[in-house]
Subunit: 397 residues, 2 copies
């Protein structure tokens, strides 16, 4: 049998001005049945009061502490399918439009993904002993891998974070790297300017994707693998690059699922079927669903509620019998009324035959206050799941 | 808007021989309304089962661990208005009566504060390269600051802790300091013996305040300031020297309030008005009320209950609308039946618009068991308050 960790991104919410939470208001018979079979409570991500990004939240759910966080760059790069070795650097990239030395559009008019894909091949090169590898992801987004003769020094990005400011170059304590980066970006600008796809865009009155903006530098870290840490192999089903990246970072096998887009139109049934199939091959499966968080960021109460109902209807029936232990939770709270990540403890449901069922028979934030799990940190969720599966080695004798 | 941390010293209590707790029995409509608007639970100070002093309890509530505790001496000295630099030592002092080489009264007959104030000027001097600075506080109490050529070595005090024993001298590994301290105390004895105020006391048949008893040595530590740690400035309103001292130690601005005495007759309205006014200037205000603890130490059930009612009636209405987030708690429990500090988790109430309200609508120890906050450590109280104020930087991205 197997453990399912089902993460509905940004799930946690609060009652606001007379409205129940989206999870409370949503019609979720499958989740409620699971609550009846299990116990509920909260996890506090990395500690009471702390607000985390999805990357740190997921690392914590996989049992890793903040000291293992490599920064956003390497996780995005891994998610984009790049191979990174410890000491190599990675940054998040925007394709941007620069005119007359100024950043006139930080996202180059949000071109379709094909534009970036067509330009991708121009942007990988070696400069003065540094290797720069560009991989495009979606729309204006990409990642840059930086390999050097030794561990790559910290780089301060050149994204001005608003339009109309001069285009500048990244800074680093390593002056050789700083110089190489400048040469790389100047050459990239020339190559992009002359690229066929940009000439076509100019003819059609569209903004050229003619410059790179870098941010979110991080260095790949040596990290104990999920299997070394927990004694079991694991697989991951996720749409978004960041989630695939975090999964790869800890050594989960990322299984590509057609239709798993990481957005509001993701194919929940395809993801549920894939997870259920993996239950026969892996003792641990991580299944990620993104859109709950996106609706929270948008302040869309009805959207969040309806999407939770969709998960309950389309995904839950496919997994609820396939796993012997299910942990259903979020990676952080994204209350719709606050339109951003918050510190609020994240509702957590753990169901398994040998668990101590509590009296709570529904799954939502306020019912979780009455639950048997109480408050735990995210790093302990998998420990409890392993305990339920009989996978905890006895400490002592 | 701003955070209020309202500490009723030694608030926590227990049901005993059929009696409800003082907080449970007290008529507290304002605290109960706050409980209805917020969530309740407990903090366990520095961990389950631990018993703490008020100094350590407050440091924990400000988010500092035990490794930042400098000992009682420096905190009392800071509270008395002395300036201390890292490495300087401080000790708590009693003015005492010595006759025939014996300590006949450890408190010199509890003289009024004016006696000590009149003697204060005699007791600051330099001896063999060490500087001894005496500051009188109340009744028989004072503090001694010790400055040396380098960091001041640990000093073992000379307070015999009971009467009738010989007057001795403090010990130290630093023999130069030990010798200087002995010279200082001998000279202090001679000066006090000849002081006008002591001649008058002798004529009136009162005990002379003619010797110093030292205890509670501590060395000032370098500590990250409250603003560095939490990213916000803070102010403190307190009567007792120790509480002002702890507040100064972490870099809170201590605001003197006339009538704030730190005892049972303190002017609660003046303190409440001061705190409410500070809400407009500081994002964090610490408000300390001492007498709940004193009644607990005295075993005075009715006194503790009546004082809690007085806080509810006179202070609460002045602050409840002035702050966007209120954390109401104690620094430890002082059950009246035990007449001392205990390990019992301390009732905690946190109210703020974005908090998850629980179903509890009253504030006392046994209702807190049903609360939504569960058990948290004191160091996390401010983290949650910052989360409610949107003051937590996102960890990760």
């Amino acid at each position: 049998m197997a453990i399912l960790l089902l993460v509905l991104d940004g799930l946690g919410d609060i009652r606001w001005e007379g409205k129940p939470t989206p999870l409370e208001e949503a019609h979720t018979p499958h989740m409620d049945r699971l609550a009846e079979k299990g116990a509920v409570g909260f996890h506090t991500t990395i500690g009471r009061g702390k607000v985390v990004g999805s990357d740190v939240g997921h690392l914590a759910l996989f049992g890793y502490s903040l000291s293992h966080y490599p920064g956003r760059g390497p996780l995005e790069a891994l998610g984009a399918g790049l191979e990174l070795r410890p000491g190599e650097g990675a940054m998040r990239v925007n394709l941007a439009t620069v005119e007359g030395g100024k950043v006139v559009d930080r996202r180059a008019g949000r071109p379709p993904t094909e534009v970036g894909k067509a330009l991708e091949g121009l942007l990988t090169m070696e400069v003065d002993g540094f290797e720069f590898v560009y991989r495009h992801t979606t729309e204006h987004r990409g990642v840059l891998l930086i390999r050097g003769p030794g561990p790559v020094a910290e780089v301060e990005g050149n994204d001005p974070h608003r339009e109309g400011l001069p285009y500048t170059y990244p800074r680093s304590q390593d002056k050789a790297l700083e110089k190489a980066l400048r040469k790389y970006l100047e050459k990239a600008h020339r190559l992009l300017e002359g690229a066929e796809v940009n000439r076509e865009r100019a003819e059609r009155g569209l903004k050229k994707a003619n410059a790179l903006l870098l941010r979110g530098f991080g260095r790949m870290k040596e990290v104990e693998s999920f299997e070394e840490k927990h004694g079991i192999r694991g697989a991951a089903v996720a749409g978004g690059a960041l989630y695939k990246g975090v999964a790869r970072y800890v050594g989960l096998d990322v299984v590509e699922v057609e239709g798993a887009t990481g957005d509001k139109n993701t194919d929940l049934e395809a993801k549920g079927r894939a997870a259920a199939r993996l239950a026969g091959e892996y003792p641990f499966v991580f299944l990620h669903v993104k859109a709950t968080d996106s609706f929270g960021h948008d302040g869309d109460y009805e959207g969040k509620k309806a999407f939770i109902e969709k998960v309950d209807r389309e995904l839950m029936p496919l997994v609820e019998e396939a796993f012997s232990t299910i942990a259903l939770t979020g990676d952080h709270s994204t209350p719709w009324a606050l339109k951003g990540h918050s510190f609020h403890p994240v509702p957590l449901l753990i169901a398994s035959k040998p668990c101590r069922r509590d009296r709570v028979k529904v799954f939502h934030e306020y019912a979780c206050m009455e639950g048997g799990l109480g408050m735990m940190e995210a790093k302990d969720v998998l420990e409890v799941a392993k305990g339920l599966e009989g996978l905890q080695p006895k400490v002592g004798s």
